[in-house]
Amino acid sequence: MTSATWVTIADVASLVLLLGGAFLAFAAGVGVLRFPDLLSRMHAGTKPQVLGLILVLAGLALRLRSGGAVWALVLVVVFQLLTAPVGAHMVGRAGYRTGKVRDDLLVVDELTRDADAATEED
C-alpha cells in the first residue's frame, strides 16, 4: 500500500478515537448531573479522566505523528494514571468522613463494617 493510504487510515482511526473520547466526556457530564449521590457521580466523572483521555490523546497522536509530541502525550497519560486514583481516593475519603455517602444506595458497605470492627477491638 502507498503511504497516502496509511495516512488516510491513521486519520480515520484518529477521528474514531476522538469521537469515542468526546462521547465519554458527554456521558460524564450527563452522569455527573443526573446521578443521585457523591460516589455514583464520582463513578460517572472518572470515565473521561482515564479512558476518555487515553482515547482523545491517542487520536491526537495518530494525527500529529511526530515523535516529540507523542512522548509528551504519553507523559500526560502516565501522569493522569498516577494522579486520578489519588484524587479520587481523597475525594471519596473526605465524602465518607463527612457523611456524604448515602448508605441506602450501597449494595455492600465493607468500610463501615471494618471500621466498626476495628473500633470494637480497641
Binding site: 473520547g21 473521561p48 463501615t112
Partner: protein, 163 residues
C-alpha cells in the same frame, strides 16, 4: 473530517455544560470538585481536539499543564475544604448578610463589655501591686485545628444498620 470534529466539539461542550450545572447545584463542595474535574477533562479534550483538527503540535504542553493543575485542585479541595458548615454552601441574600453582620457586631460588643467587666473585677480583688500583672486573665489559647477533617467521628450509618 470537519463534520466529525464538529460533532466531537458539540459532545464535549454539552458534557462540560452539564457538569457546570452540577457544579452550580452542589449540594456539597465535593460534588462541585467532581463536576469541575469533569469540566477540566472536557477542556483537555477540547484542546486536544483543536490540536488534532489543526495539526498543531505546539499546544501539547498546554495539555501537560492542564492535567497537572486538575490534580492539585481536586486534592486540595478534598483535603482542606471538604467540611463546610451547614448553609454556607450558598450565596446569602442582602437581608441575611445584614442580619449576620449585625449579629457579629452585637457579639463583639458583648464580648468587649464582658472583658471590661472582668478586668474591673480583677482590679478590685487584686492583691499586691507586683502580682497584678501575673493574675490578669489570660486570653483563651488558640486551639489547634485538627489536621484532618473530622478524623475520629464519622456521621455515617449507625453500627446496627450495617449489612
Amino acid at each position: 473530517m470537519s463534520v466529525v470534529v464538529w460533532v466531537c466539539a458539540v459532545l464535549i461542550a454539552v458534557g462540560a455544560g452539564l457538569a457546570i450545572v452540577r457544579a452550580e447545584r452542589g449540594p456539597s463542595m465535593l460534588d462541585r470538585t467532581i463536576a469541575l474535574d469533569v469540566v477540566l477533562t472536557a477542556l483537555i479534550a477540547a484542546v486536544a481536539l483543536y490540536a488534532a483538527a489543526e495539526r498543531r503540535a505546539d499546544v501539547v504542553p498546554v495539555l501537560v499543564v492542564l492535567s497537572l493543575v486538575g490534580f492539585v485542585g481536586s486534592v486540595s479541595i478534598a483535603r482542606f475544604a471538604a467540611v463546610e458548615p451547614e448553609g454556607e454552601g450558598r450565596v446569602l441574600t442582602r437581608e441575611e448578610a445584614a442580619e449576620q453582620k449585625a449579629e457579629q457586631e452585637a457579639e463583639r460588643a458583648a464580648a468587649e463589655l464582658a472583658e471590661a467587666g472582668l478586668w474591673e473585677d480583677q482590679a478590685e480583688v487584686d492583691l499586691p501591686e507586683d502580682q497584678a500583672e501575673v493574675d490578669l486573665p489570660e486570653e483563651p489559647a488558640e486551639v489547634d485545628p485538627p489536621d484532618d477533617p473530622a478524623p475520629d467521628q464519622r456521621p455515617g450509618p449507625a453500627p446496627e444498620e450495617t449489612r
